[in-house]
Symmetry: C2
Subunit: 200 residues, 2 copies
C-alpha cells in the first residue's frame, strides 16, 4: 500500500479545522491513509522564526473575515471562539496518548476537539475540557488525566514538534505526501490532483 | 455600474502573475471592471512589518515547488526567473504613467511585464527591459524613459504604496471589492462567489 499522508496541524488553527472533516475521505479515494500529527505551532515558531500568520494583527484582521467565508463555502459550522488562540498542549498530548492505544478513537476525539472549539466555543486549552470531549467518545477520564501529566507523553509531543520543524513544516494545516508538501486548506484540491496523477 | 475591483500586486510576485490572465474576465462576468494597482510590497513591509512571505527561507523552499505546481494546474507557462525577487520600481512607475494616458495599454504592458519575467526570465528590475516590453506594445521609448525618472511619477508610486498599506493591503495579489478583501491567487473562486451572490 502507498505511504500515508502526514497531516500536521495545531488544534488552535481554524484553517486546520476546515480540513478535518474531509482529509481522510480525500486520501481514501486514492488508496491512502492519513497520519494525523498535531504539533505546537507557537513552539515551532521559536525555531522557524515564522509566527502563526493569523496572529499578526494586520493578517488577523483579514483572517477574521476569511475563515468564516471559507467555512460557509464548505458548509462547515464556525464561530470565532474565545479565547483565541489557545495553547493546544493538552489536546495534542491527549491525541498522541490515544493514538498509541486506538488510532480511530484518537481521530474521533481530535475531530471532537476541533468541533468543540470552533463550532461550540468551548475552551480546549483547558485540560478538563479536553478530558470531557474525550470522555464523550468513550475514553476513561482518570487514565487520560494521568496521561496528560506524564513525562513520556510530554516528551512525545515535544519530539513531534521538533520533527515537524526538521521536516520543513511551518504552518497549519500542512500535508506531506511522498516528499511533496502542501500548505493550507486551500491546497487540498492540488494534493488530490497530485495523488490522482502520481505527481505532475 | 457597480464599483470596480481594486487589484493590488507587486510585479515581482509569482502568485500575482498567476491571476493576471483571468482577473478582468472574472470581473466582467459580474459586470465589474478592475483597477490594477501595482505597489511595492518590500516598501510596504517597512510599515506593516510583514515581509513578503515568499522571501522567508523556509516558506521560500515551499513556494519553490508550490508556484510551479499552481502554474501547471492553471496551464500558465512558468519558470523561476533570475534574479528573484526584483525591485519593481520601474515596472510600477511605467504602469501608472501609462494608465493615465491609456488604461488598456497599461494593462497590456503589465501583462507583458509579468510574462517577460515569469515566462521568459527577463529581468524586469532593469528600466531598459521595462522600456523594451512597453515599446513592443507601442509605447514611445523616449517618453517612457523620461517618465520613469520624473518626480510626479515617482511620487505617484510612493502614494499608491502608502494608500495600499492604509487600506490594510499586505500581500500580493490582494483584491478589495465593496470593502471585502481577498488575499491570494487561491481566493479568486471565493471572490467570484462573492460577486455572484452579492456577498454571503
Amino acid at each position: 500500500m502507498a505511504d500515508p499522508i502526514d497531516f500536521y496541524f495545531d488544534f488552535s488553527s481554524p484553517y486546520a479545522y476546515l480540513t478535518v472533516f474531509r482529509v481522510d475521505a480525500l486520501a481514501a479515494r486514492h488508496g491512502r491513509s492519513v497520519n494525523w500529527r498535531p504539533y505546537l505551532l507557537g513552539i515551532a515558531a521559536r525555531t522557524t522564526g515564522i509566527p502563526p500568520l493569523a496572529e499578526i494583527p494586520m493578517i488577523n484582521d483579514y483572517t477574521a473575515r476569511d475563515v468564516p467565508r471559507c467555512a460557509r463555502a464548505l458548509n462547515v459550522p464556525f464561530a470565532w471562539p474565545t479565547p483565541f488562540p489557545v495553547a493546544a498542549v493538552a489536546a495534542s498530548r491527549a491525541y498522541y496518548w490515544l493514538h498509541d492505544r486506538d488510532p480511530d478513537q484518537a481521530k474521533a476525539v481530535a475531530v471532537g476537539l476541533f468541533s468543540a472549539y470552533f463550532a461550540e466555543g468551548r475552551d480546549i486549552g483547558a485540560p478538563e475540557v479536553v478530558v470531557d470531549v474525550a470522555a464523550f467518545a468513550g475514553v476513561d477520564r482518570a487514565s487520560l488525566t494521568d496521561a496528560l501529566a506524564s513525562a513520556p507523553v510530554k516528551e512525545r509531543l515535544r519530539r513531534e514538534t521538533e520533527q515537524a520543524v526538521a521536516r520543513g513544516v511551518f504552518g497549519s494545516p500542512f500535508f506531506i505526501v511522498d516528499g511533496e508538501s502542501f500548505w493550507g486548506s486551500d491546497r487540498m484540491e492540488q494534493m488530490e490532483r497530485w495523488l490522482a496523477s502520481g505527481g505532475w
